[in-house]
Amino acid sequence: MNTISLLAFGFVSPFLLWGLLLAGVPLLIQWLHRRKYTERVWAAMRFLRAATESQNRRLRMESLLLLCVRTLILLLAAAAVAEPYLSSAMWTPRSPVATHTLILLDVSLSMQATVDGRTMSEQAREAARKLVQAGRAGDSFQLLTIASHPQAIVRQPSFSSIDVLSEIDRASLTESWGDVPLTLNVAERLLHEAPTSGRCRVVIISDFQQANWRLEDAAAQERMRTTLDRIARLGALSLIPVGVNEIDNAAVHSATVEPPLVSIGAPASILAQVHNFSSHFLRQARLQLLEEGRVLQTQTLDVPPFADAGAVFVTQWNDPGPHALQVRLEDDSLTADNDRWLAVDVRESVSVLLVNGRASTRRLEGAADFVDLALRPLLAEQPSPGLMPRWTIQPKVIGEAELSRTDFTRFDVVFLCDVPFLDDDELARLEAFVRAGGGLVIGMGDQVPLDEYTRQLGGRGEGLLPVQFVRIVDAGETPFQFGEPVARHPLTQAFAGNPRSGLTTSNTHRYVEVQLPDDSAARTVLAFSHGAPALIEHAFGAGRVVLVTTSLDDRWGSWALWPSFLPMMHELVKYVASGRTTQHALVGQSLRIDGPDPEAAGQTATLVRPDGRTSVLRPSRGEPPVEFIINDTAQSGVYRVTLDSPTGQTHVVAVNVDPRESDLRYLSDAELQSGALGATRVERPDRSLGSSAEAAITSGRADLAGGLLLAVLVLLMVEQTMAWNGRYGLVALLISPLLVAGLALAPTVALIVPAALVAILAAVRIARRNTPPTASLANRARR
């Protein structure tokens, strides 16, 4: 429970407070000074005595005041160097000059969290509204949202507070992740574009969620800090945090289907992971599996603090086609992350395209023949109907020459078996195919041009398979064998701990040595016993690519003849085809749907959003291949796209919230200063103000260093005046607070007025030095 503090005082650089010891310097000087009197004889003691008797008390007072002023000057200067600040709920720094304010309003998912019956988003909006309402005539505003796709709702500086208030109300809350670095970049660009001449400030209204503001990547964090520094130089940076220290929350942060390729009539497991983001034990939490709003199953979970708990729902479908599933956790402070959506495309069959790079008229001499045989063994042997599975793999073998004429979108998986050449068009279509969720398996062989593959597939780290094909390695007399398979990977888990499966005993005589660059996203799934990669996978878009570094026939080894080859091919198909059958994305990510006929123009599709809104989609580009892109995925749920074609094919895509938004822990004040924001000078955030939007808007961090330096400047003038004339100095001392306040409110005047006053004082002093004091007195006496 937070306490509301109306006033907070501190120093940015408290170690510099050692400078306060300087306050002893005037006292020391005074002490030393007392011992250094010049001695002289004097005749006119009568006048001296008379003068001192009348002036003695005043002199002593003036001397004391002068000493105090000198001490105060050093104290204030030392304090100013330590950069003090004052954070108050009752005070807002104001400026008489027109102020341009860029408001960064957090609309990410975590802002939907409810505290005391109000969402933090409501508090943030109210804070923003009051910020605008507090503006004066001539003030201008820009409004930018913090989200995965930051939106400059008010891009051009608006001088109409009514319009800005309206836009604040209309700023739609998203369920997306708050991409702070991206938002800050946009904010910096907006500040550069905004034609402002007066004071400028940037106000960030956010919950300052750790997940958004404390980046795991140190380099990214440093970049963000640099950006904040640049922004702080463009305008005074203020933070208005609306979060409290911690909010209890739990979320379904993942839901997957196992196996990835769900076949009709086969049992499928829905694995749901619930994470407890709070320090309290979550007991008997109810977890439901729903389909189309209908509850299929219910389980209860106990989730320890900051830990995961899993639940498995087993189900099966008898009707093929896309199915939308929902895993729901009971409501808590943040409801949007309690639902996890899952789109499962229940298949009757999987289409596999086998590209045979080495055609042969003889059986099992072609490069793809063994794969073809492995994928349809039952079909080849015509088993009895009872043994027929309810789903099938339907392979189609084509020659390498047919590659350019083949539409990959009709298939779920493509095998490239010892393909000697890929032209740019084929490569581009393959990339589009995999990016849209297709699976690609690449087998090696004697015809594979290693350098070409490195260049074409690598794509400078962004291609289908960012690896380097080095050379072909021959085993010599001792063949290579696969190493122990990894139990955790879907591809190899069936073979792990099962030496009788024959995977580790099959012999390989030749393979292609492959190097994975340090920054490569590809990873080794299975290695040879001596460590060289045998199976490498890489996620590309929604699909997957798997490289088999040896051949998929019996040319380079006996694996294709061994029992492990067949199940491995089936697992490969299931694994790489999963992108086709379970389409999912995060809120804010674009969705890409392939058109039914890549060559046909003028096709449309119908989109049904999670909230039931329907819209017609048009192809994103006029030329083939046809694809539909959905950019607006601000809402989690199931997006259904029905292609307007004779087949009426429907794609179901599950869009889920980013699990990072579920962690409702916020940066502390110290972290805001040192972690995310570094040395950036910011208005002090007052966490307690988040509980009250009204307080939040009136909060502000008063940077006292400037005011103190101003006071030092004024006191220097007072000191000079006092040294020159005690009475004038006393008057100057009395009006100095007014002078400081006036100058603080008018920064431009602050540069001119003190300089002018100092110049006038100096001129008067010089003039008085050049004129004997008795002259003026004598003149006055004569007058």
């Binding site: 000074h33 007392r34 250094k36 009197y37 010049t38 001695e39 002289r40 004889v41 004097w42 005749a43 006119a44 003691m45 009568r46 006048f47 001296l48 005595r49 008379a50 003068a51 001192t52 009348s54 002036q55 002199l59 003036e62 001397s63 040294a723 004339n725 005690g726 004997p772 004091p773 008795t774 007195l777 004598a778 003149n779 006496a781 004569r782």
Partner: protein
């Protein structure tokens, strides 16, 4: 009463190479030599001046009218202008001048900027004045005093009177200046205004009692006393129908108080000591000083006397000229014309 204008020649006297400055005079030895130098400087200046002093026969011309004595016709003028003009002469009378010189400790003050003490300056002026008067065959006497009358030399007009006159003045010159140590270690003496006697008032009363014959009285003193007491003493002289010129000799530092650093002041004449910050007290001091000065000057003039203020950094011949012409202020102290 409007102050008489100063001639250009008079003001330029300061800058003349032959001006008798205190610096120049301090290098001369022997009061007689000094007095002669001052007077010669003064006479040299006189030739350039249209003004005449009180002891010089004032000559004027007027046109001849029938019945006038022809022996007064200025024939030289007639030769040049062919017109008759008569020369007129004032009747000269022998008179006695009483010089009163304050030799108290306060007169021994000299600031860093000044080249001589007030006493030295007053002594030199008195010597020059005596020399000038005796050269005119008039009588001059000298009285020195501090709290009391110390020495007296009755007036006489013989040229040989110059020697005892100067000798008495020579005796007033201290062997050395008073230092801080001298003042600090000296036993506190009675403050002048609080003397058992009446201070300067008593001295002036005694002088008035001893100088029955009417004459000119020239008083050299810094007059750092209560103005009322000073005026009371001067009234005695006025009562005796003396023509009195009060010459107030001060050091410029005493008037301007030009000190900046913290200073411990040791009062001469046992007036105690003060530690203070001169910058803070300067204005009040100057105000006190000017008030006393104005009070004194006004009081002196009300008595029908002349009051002159001379400063020890001014050329002595100029100061002598001012005394002779009874010119109260120097051009430098005169207010600028508005």
């Amino acid at each position: 009463m409007a102050e008489p204008p100063v001639s250009r020649e008079q003001s330029d006297r300061r800058r003349l190479p032959g001006a008798v400055t205190p610096e120049l005079l301090s290098r001369l030895s022997g009061l007689g030599v000094k007095a002669r130098a001052i007077v010669e400087g003064f006479v040299t200046g006189l030739h350039r001046s249209p003004h005449h002093g009180f002891s010089i026969e004032f000559a004027e011309h007027r046109e001849y009218s029938p019945g006038d004595d022809l022996k007064y016709v200025d024939w030289k003028v007639f030769a040049k202008s062919d017109r008759y003009y008569l020369k007129q002469f004032e009747e000269e009378t022998n008179f006695a001048c009483h010089v009163l010189l304050d030799v108290s400790d306060s007169m021994r003050y000299r600031s860093e900027r000044a080249s001589m003490t007030k006493l030295e300056y007053g002594t030199d002026l008195a010597a020059a004045l005596g020399y000038l008067i005796l050269r005119q065959q008039d009588g001059v006497g000298l009285t020195t005093f501090d709290e009391l009358i110390r020495d007296r030399l009755p007036p006489a007009s013989q040229p040989s009177h110059l020697d005892p006159y100067l000798a008495l003045l020579e005796r007033q010159q201290p062997s050395r200046e008073l230092s801080v140590e001298d003042v600090a270690t000296a036993a506190p003496s009675v403050d002048r205004p609080h003397a058992g006697e009446e201070g300067l008032a008593g001295v002036l009363r005694d002088v008035a009692l001893h100088t029955r014959r009417r004459g000119l009285v020239v008083l050299f003193s810094d007059l750092f006393e209560n103005p009322e007491q000073v005026l009371r003493g001067l009234k005695h002289l006025r009562h005796q129908k003396h023509d009195v010129i009060v010459v107030q000799v001060i050091d410029r530092a005493e008037r301007e108080f030009p000190f900046d650093e913290p200073t411990q002041f040791f009062g001469l004449e046992g007036t105690g000591e003060r530690r203070l910050e001169p910058r803070g007290i300067r204005e009040a001091y100057c105000r006190e000083f000017e008030t006393a000065l104005r009070t004194l000057q006004r009081g002196v003039r009300n008595l029908g006397m002349d009051c002159l203020l001379v400063m020890t950094d001014e050329p002595l011949d100029v100061s002598l000229s001012r005394i002779l012409k009874r010119q109260p202020t120097t051009a430098r102290e005169r207010p600028a014309r508005r």
